[in-house]
């Protein structure tokens, strides 16, 4: 009897939500466990780096890697798993697009460290001590991973075969992906494993969207009583749905919150934020620059709004300074 396919799960800069998503497969996880041999899963099982290193290259069938890449250690793991695995699946918004951690690309590394270790209210660090990558203590050298200057998506570090979108990916698309992999029915390399059509397609509010929005004002969710039936954009909320891939079954709009774009853009779009801006702002009501600006003022943090999950994949990649 041939060995069961070996599967690895790994996390880089992530919140752990993607791991939760795997657990959320509920009883389905048993089917997975039955079908595969898990050789790495730091959140749940005890494997050492050396265990993985010891495996021959290409001996792992699939590695699911979630989280963005910010440290040298994450890079090292990613590169190792790339060598060991036949298929690498970039798992979740952070690995795919940089995710929430990538919002740090608006700031210099030094400014972040300074804030975290010195200026942040509540920090008591009079000697301004910072973690060092290398410290000699009693003759022994202790090392820590290095923090990189910017946050990268997984595919900016290693070659990626497939992408599972979402923050986190929903159990449904995870299961579909796992089944496809196990059955060997894989699409073309580089495919994002969710429908290549925007979210409105599966949004229950779709029919309530008027063609002509001509917005005169943008609002934030806490500022209004959100109508649970009506298109959220039509209510003046920034709903990224039209510029975001579907597959989540419009979870956020169903929960009365606008889509924030975690599934990333369609395959036809390079830059989700730029494209969303192009669509929604072309048709705001005012015509004069000053009046237009007033409407734009309703979005105090454009980068944080339009690149909530995608700043690593913005064409410009990070703030230039």
């Amino acid at each position: 009897m041939p060995d069961k396919p070996k599967v690895a799960f790994y996390w880089c800069a992530s919140c752990g939500g993607c791991e939760e998503a795997v657990v959320d497969l509920a009883e389905d996880i048993l089917k997975v466990v039955e079908a595969v041999d898990i050789v790495l899963w730091p959140v749940a099982m005890d494997f050492k780096k050396t265990d993985v290193e010891a495996r021959p290259d290409g001996s792992i069938a699939v590695a699911f890697i979630n989280g963005a890449v910010r440290t040298s250690e994450q890079e090292e793991w990613a590169r190792m798993l790339r060598r060991k695995a036949q298929v690498v699946v970039s798992f979740g918004a952070c690995a795919n697009l940089g995710g929430i951690p990538a919002l740090a690309n608006q700031f210099k590394k030094e400014d972040i460290l300074k804030f975290v270790y010195e200026d942040c209210p509540g920090v008591d660090n009079p000697s301004r001590t910072r973690p060092q990558t290398s410290t000699v203590d009693e003759g022994r050298t202790v090392t820590l991973p290095e923090i990189r200057n910017m946050v990268r998506s997984l595919d900016q570090v290693i070659d990626v075969d497939y992408y599972l979108p979402g923050c986190p990916p929903t159990p449904k698309i995870i299961m579909a992906a796992v089944q496809a992999i196990l059955a060997g029915k894989l699409p073309a390399k580089g495919t994002v494993l969710s429908p290549d059509i925007a979210l409105c397609e599966e949004c229950k509010r779709k029919d309530s969207k008027p063609a002509d929005l001509s917005l005169t004002e943008f609002k934030r969710p806490h500022q209004i009583q959100i109508d649970p039936e009506k298109c959220l954009l039509a209510q003046g909320l920034v709903c990224m749905g039209p510029a975001t891939r579907s597959g989540c079954e419009a979870l956020c709009p169903s929960g009365n919150m606008p889509c924030t774009g975690c599934f990333g853009p369609s395959s036809r779009v390079k830059d989700q934020g730029a494209k969303f801006v192009s669509s929604v702002f072309s048709n705001i009501a005012p015509k004069e620059a000053a009046d237009i600006d007033k409407v734009l003022d309703g979005i105090p943090d454009p980068i944080g709004t339009f690149y909530r999950y995608g700043l690593s994949k913005c064409i410009l990649r990070r703030k230039i300074n």
Partner: protein, 173 residues
Amino acid sequence: MSKPMEQGAGAGFEPRIVAFFCNWCTYTAADLAGVSRLKYAPNVRVIRVMCSGRVDPQFVMEAFAKGADGVLLGGCHPGDCHYAEGNYKTLRRMRMLERMLKDMGIADGRFRLEWISGAEGDKVKSVVNDMVAKVRALGPLDLPGKFAEWDKEIEELEHQISAQPAKEAVHAR
């Protein structure tokens, strides 16, 4: 223009500017500048679109990412769009794009939106010359160079790893 003014830039820095000109007004104005033999700085490369409204903010970002030091967008004057109101759509989305570019650290002056009618060949000249001078003063943006510079930190590790002998020379793919 053969006399570069080195200001905040290396000697002889020649800005590279990508321009998107609408066919009916600004592209025609550039044609008129040619027919009138006006002389202006050779730093601008024009990409023709039918309407400034065809210009997707992605194009502007892509131009910067591929090495443009400046991006110029030219359309018909408000009220004069060949397609009725295309230029208003341009204006609205580009106002937002300007804010985003600023937040991303791309200096004011590197992206410019100008209304130039088909009769304003001289305005093509003055806008191009002015923009070239201003971008020259800002210095090179050179995003491709910056991207390479940024990625050096991860390439080092890649080199280290690839320098080690592989545990097993089998690679499944």
